[in-house]
Symmetry: D2
Subunit: 438 residues, 4 copies
């Protein structure tokens, strides 16, 4: 890390416990505290994202940026890139976060010539390598930005232009290579503009074939490189496109099954993308976990009354608890982590606001971890669910599940049983029990 | 048909053409008129649905029914059932509609004992058989009502109770049998309450396994019977459940692929279910058609500003045109049809309103058929799409599509090409051209 | 109260405190505990609603009821009405809730003749009067059901039929009279079907005039009677109508101002209606409080991902806390209360589920009361808000607020000041502080 | 206009009629054609908006602009400003549009010093004055941009900073002055960031007082200037703020009534803002017209499945027809017009796309005008509405409307009439009749 500090007034964030009213201390996140057999650090695997935290300015469709990032003031864009990376590692280190995430174009500027762009990227990867080594911070995942440049206005893998597809492939190739070089635990495909604005100029079926082809090429390249990181697809239903092809977890599952890619990918589930798709965060995680697709998590929050990706920092304790419960019950995150794909509100204009925001998110998930471990240990909720499904553990239930019961058997049973009702689902009781944990 | 007429004041609905202002005449639907090589009757394959048209009363969660259906006034429920069926065949015949659709419990009442219920159903099937023969009206598809009875409050194939699963299986078995007996062209699975109200008492993965098991049992029974009708799943994202497992076309595709059912099912796409899932009707049809899953259509309309299934009669000409364009381009409906899964507004209280409603829907789709045939014949929209994707028909494009281009080849191309932009997508021009057809 | 118990297995619900895992005990609601100068009973003024709790069956548009209410099994509807009322007072008493609420048609059946209907209502009012006296339970508010009967399918005060308007007026007259007789603290107007399904058959301006006329008639009758209870309008944006005239708090405000009714009405704010209108519960309460319109509260919860009124029991602690904060800061509820306009989930089929549900709601609001009192006592959030607006307390700020600063003065100031930025809004910090209270 | 042409390949757009397939010709807009007593030009009063058409680049939150506007290539920002204005007048003239609209900061760049900014604005106003004179194009309305600069991140009239309020007042003062100088027919207040991101740092009541104060200052300054243009408020429910105070037409009505501003303002209704607020465009126009608030129209279109302001060009014929029907029935636009507050899709990258887009919008509204005139002339829809409300024209109806009928009178009538039902609302028939006009 450079000698200059970009957050001079901010110390390393200490854990002070629930009683503290120091806004620059953790009240729940205690990295070395053991919960359910592992430290919080190991369970939660937090990551800071480069794009929002280092590159975000608060600009929106109705106004220019209003956050002055001191690391952006520089004589040229490469100096600014170095400063931003230094600032990122300082932020991550002071927060005690173990991981970071980036897009290729976040960390190094783009030139008109791809070779030159790649050279600038390599320069910044060298810098990142040094900073990783000196700080011990690791790379959760890398990715390529295939949506910001005008060439990608009609998609990347689904562009109507074959030149753009090739450009995207070259960019993915390079991004996998540098992720591999930095020891990344994974690599994410977020289909920024893979979708359409109008079906009237779109061949949806052909686009799907092209996108699958890009994924297969990436798998082949990964294998050629010997990169063992996990590949993820990140579902999102819309925005910026009117329809995004990776709509939600189950849609991505269809795509992976259809194109014989299901063994090579898991999902990176984002809370705000879940709600935009009409699902709870809990639902998307549970679907993924139930189909062996839960890979990593973009920990943020949307506003359920707004129809765009607000990417707020996660502060909803119940949502976070449901998420951690799914994570714990499915054996924990392995290659993945909790990446704060979250941005400061436009009116949060000070660098220190980055600290408040991450502290809030980390404390929320730390508390959620402790509560979900307690819920699992207590077993009251699990027991109610087990009782509700108990009849499936009968001989009849087993004969259905193992495929031995025939339609005729079942009809015979039904004619005799004439079932008229089932037991109360007890939703209110269950919600009360859950509330008792908070 | 019985001697009694239930719609005495309504004649057989004639075609009078666009100039007519007779509200009981067609202005566009001319059954024998040939469009693109087939009659309108053959293309459109309209069906009247039994549930809304015969059983609907206008009741909603805030009030009791307010439509007096004369056929419901009877000494007992079986007399009412006969009368309703007579009225349905009169309605269908006077409209000149070739098909009908029903749930088992629409046409015959349920008793506490399943054997007796089945006997009452058989009696009504006998009656239907006679009416089909005398009128020439055919059955588009049958289905079982697995959601209205309290036993199904927690689902049918996904019930937590194995007794309820068995009851559902018995009901499906019987419903397939009577559909087969009536010569039905298909059979629909709409997962009325296959879903959950809260994940806290739900095992989503296990529910999926159970639902797939029910589907496999149905496939086996179909084969045992020799029933050659098409099986359909009908996607819907929510309502009555908080989450319905058959969320949308692509979700159903995932389910069918995952559970090795994709060769046995197509989809029944409903316009209102599409919009509830955040998609256009056009999108759902195009997804289905592009993956060989387009089976049949529930032709209705939702209110995009309301969050429940309003099931209005389809009167949006542009939506219907996009639908018919997908249908024509994918080779037309074969086993499926356009079923009016639509209900009169609560304030439409006269039997004659049923005629106005169906006439409006039929004319809308007849006009949409003519326009979509014209769009195809003109080829202007297709040509713009073809030009947009033209680069994919180059040598490079073909090498990507056929899998011979490697990541290294593509990178080499990209480094040389340095593509910066692509052509205008021309959405406004295309929308103007489309508007010119209306 | 009658000798028969309808909830024999349920005792009076005791307060056992946060440590208790007795599902039939309160963990937070301790009626006599003093918080911020008043008992919880006085602050919260809970009410049980008759319609959902006594009359709800779990029926929905896709299925019949599945909850067997023992009090509904009777030889005739008047016996059932007596039993239901006995059961209601038993429920209320065992919960220790001080108030109840009802529609005229909840408590007594309707006959074809209005005189006879009124007589049956009077009989039940006699019964209610006896039960109120013997239990000490009071009436929070009464209302007339102007939406369930077919005559009201096109609205009541906004019906296109003048006969229906007259019927509605007669029903309101009687409902105010019986509310007065029972000592009701208020009277609610929820415009069940005051709105439209399609503008094509609607005269929105004229409907508004008619609705205002009904309100004025009610005000005159209230004054003639000497009834001193508070009148409330309850906003709702849609459902059952496509558009409801009482869309939200601010829309109702416009209506009251436009028609010179603002001195005679306050609002009854419902959480689920707020979210259907695109607002938070907090927003609607704050708007009402800020314009002296906060009267009473329908305490429930919607599902932000669903587009209909789910009327779930309130269990969201943060929402409830924001609500109680507005209530406390605006001086507390006086005539109004917290009415549980909430219904059991369809799958909650046992009478005891009514107790779980109310306990959950009461504990949530009790906890919210304690937290909001603590937030006010601490003053940290208030202080941050005060600092944010501090410049308005300067001389310039005061000159603008009191109207003495002119446009020219302000321009002169602006030309000199050339303000370029303002302080951070600190949203993340504030959210962290808020989370610290939970 | 300067000698340089910015759209060299585009001729003046001719009217060629419905048969034409020239994409650069009108098929319906024939400026001098008389419909219902006025020319199309006079009825429709189209305006081109400066911000989207001249300043839009296609940038969105996920990518930079991709439309190269040749007029933006310049040695300095003032040269670019001149070029853009020249191009705007060329566009307007070639389209044959009679009006334009602008924000102060669209047409001239901002400097750090307000005096200098005002000087640059004056220079561009001089240029606009010359171009207006030479082309005959007039100004529909002007406005001030109070949302793009960072100083406005917390609002303008509702900023927590009194300095920002003063700056906003100064900017409004100047913008009214230059609008007056250019002979503008009106002046718009769109409350870009007048609202909040979180209630936790917001005093909603005090913000309302401040906003009203700004409006009163503007009214006073208008009177001092002798400016006779109409003031408009433009409702929008959210975006960029989480909640915008000018939520919808009825909310604005409440604000105007509450703060004694209703005599000085009308509304500028935008289609996309209507749907974001949960209303149809038709509803917002009808509410405004019914309360003498319909002033001007922002003619665009949203995507009902997306939750942000897509600002598409209006191509929905039925929506446009309902709009023109309200306009015609309320006596036509006087000071207001149809301003295309609409932007090209991001993928529409050619200057000629601006022509396609405006042609599509103009043809849609021209056709809508002709159809709505025909609907009014036919009178069938009006007659059905009249019949539906006919009972209100009876003696009883009149006695209610004029306030002479008392509650006792109405009860007496109701006891005698015992009304049980009303006539069918005929929604399906009415929708069929409407469809017959298209």
């Amino acid at each position: 890390m450079s000698a200059t500090s970009w957050f001079q007034d901010v110390p390393n964030i200490p854990f002070e416990g629930p009683g503290s009213d120091n806004p620059l201390a953790f009240t729940h996140y205690n990295a070395d505290e053991v919960v359910a057999g592992q430290t919080m650090r190991e369970h939660l695997r937090f990551a800071v994202c480069y794009w929002h935290s280092m590159r975000g300015t608060g600009a929106d469709p109705f106004g220019v940026g209003c956050r002055n990032m001191p690391w952006s003031e520089a004589d040229n864009d490469m100096q600014a890139a170095h400063q931003a990376m230094d600032a990122m590692f300082e932020l991550v280190t002071k927060l005690g976060v173990p991981f970071w995430c980036f897009h290729d174009r976040d960390i190094a500027p783009e030139r008109n010539d791809l070779s030159e762009t790649n050279a600038k990227l390599d320069e910044m990867i060298d810098h990142a390598e040094r900073l990783q080594e000196s700080t011990g911070v690791r790379l959760l995942w890398g990715t390529a930005c295939l949506f910001a440049h005008p060439r990608y206005m009609g998609g990347a893998g689904t562009s109507p232009s074959v030149d753009v597809f090739a450009h995207a492939a070259a960019q993915v190739k390079k991004a996998i290579e540098v992720t591999h070089r930095l020891g990344g635990a994974g690599y994410v495909f977020w289909g920024g503009r893979e979708g359409y604005d109008t079906l009237l100029n779109t061949d949806m079926r052909r686009d799907g074939e092209h996108l699958a082809r890009l994924m297969h090429l990436a798998v082949e390249h990964k294998q050629a490189l010997g990169f063992e990181g996990q590949f993820y697809i990140e579902p999102k239903p819309c925005e910026p496109s009117t329809h995004q092809y990776d709509y939600d977890a189950q849609s991505c599952h269809a795509f992976l099954l259809k194109h014989d890619l299901v063994d090579h990918f898991k999902l990176n589930i984002e809370a705000n993308h879940a709600t935009l798709a009409g699902h709870t965060f809990h639902h998307e995680l549970d679907y993924a976990a139930g189909h062996d697709l839960l890979g990593s998590i973009d920990a943020n929050r949307g506003d359920p009354l707004l129809g765009w990706d607000t990417d707020q920092f996660p502060t909803d304790l119940q949502d976070a608890t449901m998420a951690m419960l799914v994570v714990l019950q499915s054996g924990g995150l392995t290659t993945g982590g909790l990446n704060f794909d979250a941005k400061l509100r436009r009116q949060s204009t000070d660098p220190v606001d980055l600290f408040y925001a991450h502290i809030g998110g980390m404390d929320t998930f730390a508390r959620a971890l402790k509560i979900s471990a307690q819920i699992m240990a207590d077993g009251r909720l699990d027991e109610l669910k087990r009782l509700r499904y108990a009849s499936w553990d009968s001989a009849l239930g087993r004969s259905i599940e193992d495929g031995t019961a025939s339609m005729v058997d079942l009809e015979a049973h039904a004619l005799k049983a004439n079932v008229q009702a089932i037991d109360s689902g007890r939703q209110e009781l269950i919600e009360n029990i859950l509330n008792g944990y908070f």
